[in-house]
C-alpha cells in the first residue's frame, strides 16, 4: 500500500479480499442521512443494474459517524427490480458500508472511497450526495459511461438550475476557474462526479487529507486537480438537482470564505499551470440538455444593496490596504446610489476578485478576515446582476454570464503580472 493510504477497517478489508476486483464503484458519503439515503442507494443500484448489468459493481457508503442509523438503512435497502423492469446485475453487485477515518468532512469520506477504488482496481467511479431527492438511475449512466466508453477521466455535473441559483458559482467560482485553467466547466463545485480509477489513485497521492480539502473543499479540489493535471474532462447534464436545504442558519460570509478560499488555495499550487493558459475552450457535454420555464422567486434586493452600502462605507479603510484607489472611489460612489441606478460592471467585479486573490496570495492580512470582507461586495454584485437580468430568460442570463467570464479571461494578465511582484 502507498505511504499515504488510508487505514481501512478490518471488516471492510475482509470484504474487499472477497471481491478482489471490480469494474465500477459508486461512492455515497453520508452523515446522518437516514431519511434521504434510501432513495439514493436505490437509484444507484437500479442505475448499475439497468445500464451496466454485465459489469462487476460496488456501492460504498462512507459514513462520518451517523447516529441516526444511516449505515443500517444502507445495508438493509433493497430494490424492487421487477417494478422497474430491470433485471438483476449479472456481473455481480456488492455493497460496502464503512465509517471513514480522518478529519470530519466530505473530503475524508471521499478519500476512503478513492482508497477502496484503488484496491479493487476499478475502471470507473462516481460519487453522489446522500441527500439527493432528484437522483435517477440515469445519473449513474451519465457519470460512468463517459469514463467507461469514451475514455474520459473526469465527469463534472451540469445541473438544470434557476437563473438565480448558485450565485457564488456564477459570479466567482465558474468565471475564475474557467479563466485560470481554460476549461469551461459550468458547475465545478457541483458535488456529484464521475472519475476514472486512474484519477482516483492520482488523488490519493496528493498530501491534502489533513487540510480544508478534507473538511469542505473537496469538490473544487477534484475538478481543479483533474483539469490542472491534464486529465481528460467532460460534463454530464443531469437535470435538476433537488436536495436537502443547506442549514438555513449558515452564515453567508462563512460559506463565501470556505468556497473562495478553496479556489484561491489551489491557485498557489497551480500557478505554473494557470499562468500559461490564455482563453478557454468548451468541454464535451453528455446527456439530453433541456430547459424549463422560470418560476418567479423572491429576491430581497433592498437588503442586499443595504449590506453593500454598509460594507463600502464601514470597511473602506480596511479595503484601502489592498484595493486600488480608483476602484474604492467607484464603490464609494455606488454606496450613494439608489436601486434604480445601482450597478457593478463586470470589469470592476473582475478587478475586485483579482485583487482579493492577490491579497490572499500575498497574505497582506488574515485570510479569513479578507474573504469575509468580500461578503458585502459580493452581495452588491448579485444585486446588480439581478437588477440587470430581472426580465431576462434563462438563456439570456447564461449569455450574460458568458460576458462576465470573458471579462475574467481578458483581465487575467493583470493577475499574472502582479502575482510574483
Amino acid at each position: 500500500m502507498p505511504e499515504n493510504s488510508v487505514i481501512l477497517g478490518e471488516d471492510i478489508r475482509e470484504q474487499i479480499e472477497e471481491v478482489k476486483e471490480a469494474d465500477i464503484l459508486v461512492g455515497v458519503p453520508s452523515y446522518n442521512n437516514a431519511r434521504t439515503i434510501v432513495h439514493v442507494v436505490k437509484a444507484v443500484e437500479a442505475g448499475l443494474s439497468k445500464y451496466f448489468p454485465d459489469n462487476k459493481s460496488v456501492l460504498v457508503n462512507s459514513d462520518g459517524g451517523s447516529i441516526d442509523g444511516t449505515m443500517k438503512v444502507v445495508k438493509e435497502t433493497t430494490v424492487d427490480f421487477a417494478s422497474m423492469l430491470v433485471r438483476h446485475q449479472l456481473g455481480g453487485y456488492r455493497k460496502f458500508v464503512t465509517p471513514y477515518h480522518g478529519v470530519p468532512g466530505k473530503g475524508s469520506a471521499f478519500r476512503t472511497i478513492f482508497e477502496i477504488a484503488r484496491v479493487l482496481k476499478v475502471k470507473a467511479c462516481a460519487v453522489v450526495d446522500s441527500d439527493l431527492r432528484s437522483i435517477t438511475p440515469e445519473w449513474i449512466e451519465l457519470l460512468i459511461k463517459p469514463i467507461l466508453n469514451e475514455d474520459y477521466d473526469y465527469v463534472s455535473p451540469y445541473y438544470l438550475r434557476h437563473k438565480y441559483d448558485g450565485t457564488i458559482t456564477n459570479t466567482i467560482v465558474y468565471p475564475i476557474t474557467r479563466a485560470l485553467y481554460g476549461k469551461r466547466i459550468r458547475q465545478p463545485i457541483g458535488g456529484d462526479f464521475g472519475f476514472s480509477g486512474r484519477l482516483a489513485s492520482f488523488y490519493l497521492t496528493k498530501d491534502v487529507w489533513d487540510t480544508n480539502v478534507a473538511r469542505f473543499g473537496i469538490d473544487i479540489w477534484m475538478t481543479t486537480t483533474a483539469v490542472a493535471n491534464a486529465f481528460k474532462v467532460c460534463q454530464a447534464f443531469l437535470g435538476a438537482k433537488i436536495h436537502d436545504a443547506k442549514d438555513p442558519g449558515a452564515d453567508l460570509s462563512a460559506m463565501l470564505h470556505q468556497v473562495v478560499s478553496s479556489v484561491f488555495d489551489l491557485t498557489e499550487e497551480y500557478f505554473p499551470v494557470w499562468s500559461k493558459v490564455s482563453n478557454s475552450e468548451p468541454v464535451s457535454t453528455f446527456g439530453f440538455v433541456y430547459s424549463v420555464g422560470l418560476e418567479p422567486i423572491k429576491v430581497n434586493l433592498d437588503g442586499m444593496i443595504e449590506k453593500f452600502k454598509l460594507g463600502a462605507e464601514e470597511l473602506s479603510s480596511f479595503y484601502e490596504s489592498f484595493l486600488p484607489t480608483e476602484l474604492l472611489r467607484y464603490l464609494g460612489d455606488m454606496a450613494g446610489k439608489t436601486k434604480d441606478n445601482f450597478s457593478i460592471p463586470d470589469d470592476l467585479w473582475v478587478e475586485i476578485i483579482y485583487n482579493f486573490a492577490l491579497a490572499y496570495h500575498k497574505r497582506v492580512m488574515s485570510q479569513e478576515h479578507l474573504l469575509k470582507s468580500l461578503t458585502p461586495l459580493y452581495l452588491g454584485k448579485v444585486a446588480s446582476f439581478v437588477i440587470e437580468t430581472w426580465e431576462s430568460t434563462a438563456e439570456e442570463v447564461e449569455q450574460r454570464l458568458e460576458d462576465l467570464c470573458i471579462a475574467f479571461e481578458k483581465a487575467k494578465m493583470y493577475l499574472v503580472e502582479k502575482w510574483e511582484r
Binding site: I297, G303, F318, K372, T375
Partner: protein, 233 residues
C-alpha cells in the same frame, strides 16, 4: 609654610594623580568594551535583518496589522528594519552597561543593579503591550467585519471599541507589572471599564429599543428580516 602647602596642595594632588592613574586602566577597558559594543551591535543588526527577511517578518506584520498600527503612530518603514534597530540598541545598551561596570564606581554600580532588577518587569510589560496591540487589532477587525456582515449600522465604532478595550486591558496589565500605582490603576480601570460597559448598555438600551422590540417580536411571532429564495452555492 612649606608643610602647609604640601599638606593642602601637593599631597591631595599626588593622591588625585595616583587615583587617576589607578583609574586609567578601568577607563581604557571601558572604552575598549564600548568600541566592541558598537561593532557587535552592528553585526547583530545585520544578522537580525537577514533572519527577519528570511522569515518574512514584514509580510507577517502586515498580515496581523502591526505595520498599519506602527504607521498610525508615526513609525514608518518596514518592521524588519525596526526589529534590527531594536536589537542594535539592545546590544549597544548591554555593552554600555558592562563598560560602566568596569569603571568600578560604587554610585554607578548601585544604579545599574537597580536597573537590572527592573529589567525583567520592563520586558514583560513591553511584551504585554505588544501582544495587546496585536490582539486588539485582530479582534477589532473581527468584530468590524462580523458586524458589517450582520448588517450592524455602527460597525466601525464597534470594531474600534473592541480594539480599545483589549489594548486598554493590556496597558493596565503592563502598568500592574511595572508596579506603577498598582492599586490606583486597577481601581481606575475598574471604574472606567464598568462605566464604559454601563454607558454602552444604556446607549444600546435607549438607542436600540425599537430594534430590540422588532427583533423580539420577530422571534416570538416568527417574523424576521425578509428572506429571499436565492441559493448562493
Amino acid at each position: 609654610m612649606k608643610n602647609i602647602s604640601e599638606h593642602i596642595l601637593t599631597e591631595p594632588l599626588k593622591d588625585f594623580i595616583q587615583r587617576l592613574l589607578a583609574f586609567m586602566p578601568n577607563l581604557l577597558t571601558c572604552l575598549i568594551i564600548f568600541v566592541f559594543g558598537f561593532i557587535a551591535a552592528w553585526i547583530v543588526k545585520y544578522v537580525v535583518s537577514k533572519i527577519a527577511n528570511l522569515l518574512r517578518v514584514d509580510r507577517f506584520c502586515a498580515k496581523v496589522g502591526i505595520t498599519e498600527t506602527f504607521g498610525k503612530v508615526g513609525i514608518k518603514g518596514p518592521p524588519a528594519r525596526l526589529l534590527s534597530r531594536i536589537f542594535y540598541w539592545l546590544v549597544l545598551i548591554i555593552f554600555v552597561i558592562i563598560a560602566l561596570y568596569t569603571l568600578r564606581v560604587p554610585a554607578i554600580e548601585k544604579l545599574l543593579e537597580k536597573f537590572f532588577l527592573y529589567l525583567p518587569d520592563l520586558f514583560v510589560a513591553a511584551l504585554l503591550i505588544i501582544i495587546g496591540y496585536i490582539l486588539g487589532n485582530f479582534l477589532g477587525r473581527t468584530a468590524l467585519i462580523a458586524s458589517v456582515n450582520a448588517g450592524v449600522k455602527f460597525s466601525r465604532l464597534l470594531g474600534k471599541g473592541v480594539k480599545a478595550i483589549v489594548v486598554l486591558l493590556a496597558f493596565v496589565m503592563a502598568l500592574e507589572q511595572l508596579g506603577i500605582g498598582r492599586g490606583t490603576v486597577i481601581v481606575a480601570f475598574t471604574i472606567l471599564f464598568g462605566g464604559f460597559v454601563f454607558a454602552l448598555s444604556l446607549s444600546f438600551g435607549l438607542g436600540g429599543k425599537d430594534i430590540a422590540r422588532q427583533y423580539l417580536e420577530g422571534k416570538v411571532k416568527g417574523e424576521s428580516e425578509e428572506k429571499d429564495d436565492l441559493t448562493h452555492i
